[in-house]
Symmetry: C2
Subunit: 338 residues, 2 copies
């Protein structure tokens, strides 16, 4: 049980607080959105409807990479650069591998020690107790709240494990993959698909003895992009070397992203991508909603249990079972009207 039920602020106060850039209220609103309580969800939905017209004005950047690649260190350096440009920054982190404990949340905050003290920055981990689809939805909604609160740049960070990268790719404008230079095995540690969805690859820790291997890795990745078909937007992915220690590449990444968004806005691909993301998000919601709607009817649940037994005893084929369940669902919907 979240404590938010006790301290839930009213809708008007939440809306005004968020639009006024109040971070305490922004934090409360995100907690509200993450809550699974029906009462919280009702307020959260109404809040989202109200703040929606004030969203969409940030640059949304996704960052992924395997554990140990230096994501936090990079975001700390990159984030400081962004706030140094007089831009406000919100960092939303998704870590599907960490359990939800106060420890993990504190851990996440202290991972970016300097940035978390920066008045221009706001750092917030997503409660990772939720199912993956759930985390993605909550993060999207948190992103909208941050935009309504006026943040100009939003970074969504996730570890390069499982399906979370795809979810993040589908909610951002620009998707950054962080990699380490290795002994010729750069491609081995990650899923091949990940390279194909990156808008840029950063070889991290390009300092000291590591500069040469980092540059070699960069060249190799740059080379590998030729294998992939051109993105619909015409964007060609770029590989860069970076060092949080020396600052190498940090400004270049920012310029690259600015360049990307400007040319995307001119060509119309920027808006097109966002619209596609919104429609896809709607479709996901619809699927989840239909699934949970089926579970609301006791007759459907009972029928499903019977059908699953019949299925494993080979007395009904899956197609027929699905048709029968749909009929039961139709009947339940009709009965619920009377």
């Amino acid at each position: 049980m979240k404590q938010s039920t006790k301290t839930r602020p009213d809708l008007k106060k939440l809306e005004e607080g968020i639009l006024g850039g109040d971070r305490v209220i922004l934090g409360q609103a995100i907690t509200l959105i993450e809550s699974n309580l029906d009462a919280d969800q009702t307020v959260a939905s109404a809040l989202l409807e109200r703040i929606l017209p004030s969203t969409g004005n940030s640059i949304r950047i996704g960052i992924t990479g395997v554990p140990g690649v230096g994501k936090s260190t990079f975001i700390e350096a990159f984030g400081k650069y962004i706030t140094g440009q007089n831009k406000t920054l919100a960092v939303l982190t998704i870590d599907p591998t960490s359990p939800i404990t106060k420890g993990s949340i504190l851990g996440d905050k202290t991972r970016m020690e300097v940035l978390s003290k920066d008045p221009m920055a706001f750092i917030r981990p997503t409660a990772s107790s939720l199912a993956m689809g759930g985390v993605a939805n909550k993060t999207r909604e948190a992103m909208l709240l941050c935009e309504a609160a006026g943040f100009q740049v939003i970074i969504v960070e996730t570890v390069g494990v499982g399906q979370s990268e795809i979810s993040v790719k589908n909610m951002v404008d620009f998707f950054l993959l962080l990699v380490l230079a290795g002994a010729g095995d750069e491609l081995q540690g990650m899923k091949k698909g990940i390279l194909e969805i990156a808008d840029a690859i950063l070889v991290t820790k390009s300092d000291g003895d590591n500069i040469k291997p980092a540059r070699e890795a960069q060249a190799m990745y740059q080379q590998s992009f030729h294998v992939f078909p051109e993105q619909r937007s015409g964007w060609r992915p770029v590989a860069l070397t970076t060092s949080a220690q020396t600052g190498e590449g940090i400004e270049d990444v920012w310029k690259l992203i600015i360049n990307f968004t400007q040319s995307g806005k001119q060509s119309g691909h920027f808006v097109q991508n966002r619209n596609q993301q919104t429609i896809a998000w709607f479709r996901e919601h619809l699927k989840i909603l239909l699934e949970s709607d089926l579970q609301k009817f006791e007759t459907v649940q009972q029928k499903r249990r019977n059908l699953e037994q019949a299925l494993v005893s080979l007395s009904i084929p899956p197609q027929t079972a699905a048709r029968q369940l749909l009929e039961t669902y139709h009947q339940a919907v009709r009965d619920s009207a009377t």
Copy 2:
């Protein structure tokens, strides 16, 4: 348009033909199942219901690998070994990359020239004009028909491209990945996830000058299995070298599969896996059915178009839009009753 509408045999004849092992009728039935005509689908469903009790008695083997790895050559050698053991064999191939033409189908057949003339074997490519989900469903159904026709071993072959491997993994008992020995880059050409779902890896073309690299690759793969968590069944994947030319490893693969199924049947994991696959298949059907049910109602379609416009103009959040569409759907279902 398929010609099956003209020559559609009656249900009784199809059932008897299949249960009697008549290959011409088996072929007709698979064509019927692949047809998208409503009339054909009705007969196909009824047929599946009838033959279902006679299914489930084969060993289902999935085989994948990138183009050029030698899948056909391996299946030809492996298939001949199986029929040499006095077992009947059906080979179903899925090639999502090839267009559906008579040429492609003939091409597929002649790829396995010896096996296609073997009276103990039946080779059938799945029409690849269907959407991927569709192909998987049709292949599953074709597999059931082959089982009802008495085939003792079923091989489902797919190229290691796209999502088809996962679909195949989810419909077979044993999943074989074919790989080539390469210059130290064995892991690069394929998705990392594929290694984790393989029950065995075969390094092909282990003959002549290629024996040494093949053995090295085998050792490397065997090593790599230690990285993965143990399968729920307790099965440890195995890497082997094979040569269709010299016959190396062919018998070993068969013994491995026999070993796998026997120990799985003793422990109960064999049946458990099949039951899970059946339930998952049912759920997939249900999703597809719900999706197409929404499309049947003109009011729902109209509402969806309006909502998608409202979504991209940021006047409604995706969650709310999904809820509204569900309400419209409920109303349409109710209205359809009166």
